[in-house]
């Protein structure tokens, strides 16, 4: 039996799974990135190790998420894939009939439309972070409520307060205004959930034809209030998968399984041996921002460079 590791290193949380050949999840892990993707990846791997037999062979590694390149290089990954493809593949493995995937993560949100198990259209938020997990967390702090309880509290509201959507700045100032006016906390929280959903539909899903079955995932999908708001706005049932937060990691593990490449993965790697250096190349006015990765002072890989001049800088 062969096993495959998939890691999704997001801005807020890092997710990892180990799959067997039958695409069954044998180990899973979910924890906060805390601004250190290398350490987070390491913690995820250690946690996964604890859940499986030490001796089982992991023969492929896939990485996705915003730190996919960095972690992929360090882990010598066989597949490094963008999060859109990874999420689509992961979700399809559980729900082959899905037509629309709504995904709201910590820092970005996306919509993926599928037909006959093939992605036909997608979009990602471009300009604004409104309606992402980070916005909800910061507002939870303002209201003095743990963000995990947001959904439950929202459901108790009978008349959600109207809160301006469109942009975090508008939403936030409107929220403060409504608090000072004396609206009830649960109504405000329900209104906030609604504004996240309508903001998403107006910005990210703008002009897209949303058809059922609809699946809602990403960290924010754990918030029942937002799920309910989506159902109200779309007039259709919105499913939340219990493994919704892991879909990216599962998808990229499946891609590692599908690829022909096989290399035995050593889980006891020491990430401290790796050193990353970000610098600006000053050899021309382009000022490329280059990241180079070294292991025990030997050069491994770099990115961000555009020309030969930068190559000289990297090797130094």
């Amino acid at each position: 039996m062969e096993y495959f590791l998939g890691i999704d290193i997001g801005s807020v949380s890092t997710k990892g799974v180990v799959l067997n050949e039958k695409q069954e999840v044998v180990a899973e892990s979910y924890l906060y990135t805390k601004g250190n993707p290398m350490d987070a990846a390491n913690r995820v791997i250690q946690e996964l190790r604890g859940q499986i037999d030490e001796k089982i062979p992991i023969v492929g590694v896939g990485t996705t998420g915003s730190a996919r390149k960095l972690i992929g290089t360090i882990l010598n990954a066989t597949v490094i894939k963008n999060e859109i493809t990874a999420h689509a593949i992961g979700t399809l493995s559980f729900y082959p009939e899905v037509r629309t995937i709504l995904e709201i993560g910590g820092q970005d949100s996306k919509i993926i439309l599928l037909e006959n198990q093939i992605v036909t259209d997608y979009a990602m938020n471009t300009l604004c972070a409104a309606g992402t997990g980070a916005f909800l967390s910061s507002q939870a702090e303002r209201l003095g409520v743990p963000v995990e309880d947001f959904g439950k509290i929202a459901l108790t509201s009978k008349s959600p307060t109207n809160i301006a959507a469109r942009c975090t700045v508008f939403a936030e100032s409107d929220l403060v205004h409504k608090i000072q006016m004396g609206y009830k906390k649960e109504d405000i929280i329900a209104g906030l959930c609604k504004s996240v959903a309508s903001n998403y539909l107006n910005n990210v899903a703008k002009g897209k034809k949303i058809q059922g079955p609809i699946i809602f995932q990403g960290g924010v999908s754990k918030n029942v209030g937002v799920q309910k708001a989506f159902e109200e706005l779309l007039g259709e049932e919105v499913f939340v998968s219990p493994k919704g937060h892991l879909m990216g990691a599962i998808g990229v593990a499946i891609l590692a399984l599908r690829s022909k490449k096989r290399t035995l993965f050593q889980p006891n790697f020491d990430y401290r041996a790796f050193e990353t250096k970000g610098f600006q190349c000053n050899r021309c006015a382009n000022h490329c921002e280059i990241i180079s990765v070294r292991k025990n002072n030997t050069f491994i890989d770099s990115w961000g460079n555009r020309c030969e001049k930068g190559n000289l800088m990297i090797q130094k």
Partner: protein
């Protein structure tokens, strides 16, 4: 008065024909603005209004860098959108910054007129005869035409070259040689030779390779720096690229094809949409009918004619079932974000092709 030094903003590799024209019809020195870099954009963004479209910022950056090197005569063109106001606003901004220079616009109100151009150049060279002006103008236009032909050939094949960089090398060579054009026959001979050279570069191109059309606003289509070298990225993914917008298109084909295009898409458009809006609706329709695998639409952030065209383009793409992706470029656009979306687009069109 001091010696006059002429300069103009960059647009792809079109500095070659423009320099050729200017050196032959004026007695003045021509200074090519330094190549576009991040510094150019920073300079432009610093002095331009924040919400203006991005070509304005690149142009302004080019001017400032050229002025710093001693240029004192600047040229600008114009078009049927905000581009039509570029010259006046840029002249004002640069004068406010304290530079001394002469500023000429090649475009009278909205259209290229040979007589207007002649009058403009006459100011720089009082001895310029109309015959000489016209001769070099036609020669330059032919050079642009040949450049565009060779370029579109390269776009077809560059993604499949066996030895990396050969197409780019030929491009460098023909640009260098075109500068030394002696006359019509010489130019034509060079064109034929380079065409053969390009076709002789060994490529490995599968029969049913992925084909993508690039549509959208003209500056982002023609200036590779402004889209983080989008065409090069596509070449790396082994994709054949079709691009409609080049100077040949803007000078001739656009006007010639207008009625035909409107007829073809009469279901969607009754009138033109300003700038290249209607053209892009037609291109979407054309690419779908010709079985392309996907469309990439690029525009500067806030490009009004394209914003007007996008809902119609969306409808055409939806009706014809062709995947389309939109990119909007600004100083704040993240290169990583563009790459992520592009990768996903590649995965998507590849999967769709496989499913057919």
């Amino acid at each position: 008065m001091n010696k006059k030094i002429i300069s103009f903003p960059h647009l792809g590799s079109y500095s070659v024909p423009i320099e050729f024209l200017l050196t032959h019809i004026t007695p003045h020195e021509v200074l090519i603005a330094p190549k576009i870099t991040n510094k150019t954009l920073e300079l432009g963004a610093k002095y331009a209004p924040d919400t203006v479209c991005i070509p304005f910022k690149y142009n302004l950056g080019n001017y400032i860098e050229a002025l710093e090197l001693g240029a004192n005569v600047l040229f600008q063109a114009g078009g049927g959108c905000r581009y039509g106001y570029y010259s006046e606003v840029q002249e004002k901004i640069l004068k406010d910054l304290g530079y001394t220079f002469e500023f000429y616009s090649l475009v009278d109100v909205d259209r290229f007129k040979v007589s207007y151009m002649y009058k403009t150049f006459k100011k720089l060279n009082p001895h310029l005869s109309f015959f000489k002006f016209f001769y070099y103008l036609v020669l330059t236009v032919l050079m642009v035409f040949y450049m565009d032909r060779l370029d579109s050939l390269i776009r077809k094949n560059i993604g499949f070259e066996i030895e990396h960089g050969l197409h780019q090398e030929v491009k460098k060579d023909f640009l260098r040689d075109f500068k030394k054009t002696k006359g019509f026959f010489h130019l034509h001979r060079m064109f034929r030779m380079y065409k053969k050279k390009i076709l002789r570069i060994p490529i490995k191109k599968p029969e049913n390779c992925l084909k993508v059309g690039i549509i959208g606003e003209l500056y982002t289509a023609m200036e590779p720096f402004s889209t983080y070298f989008l065409e090069m990225e596509l070449a790396k993914m082994n994709i054949e690229v079709k691009r409609f917008t080049d100077v040949t298109y803007l000078l001739f084909l656009k006007a010639l094809r207008r009625r035909k295009m409107l007829r073809d898409i009469s279901k969607y458009c009754t009138y033109t949409l300003g700038a290249d809006g209607m053209d892009n609706v037609w291109r979407t329709w054309y690419l779908a009918k010709n079985h392309y695998d996907g469309i990439i639409h690029t525009k500067p952030f806030g490009c009004t004619p394209e914003i007007g065209a996008i809902p119609i383009i969306d409808k055409v793409a939806h009706d014809e079932k062709i995947p389309i992706i939109y990119f909007s470029f600004d100083t704040q656009t993240s290169e990583v974000g563009v790459k992520t979306r592009l990768e996903a687009f590649y995965d998507m069109i590849l999967a769709q092709k496989g499913a057919q």
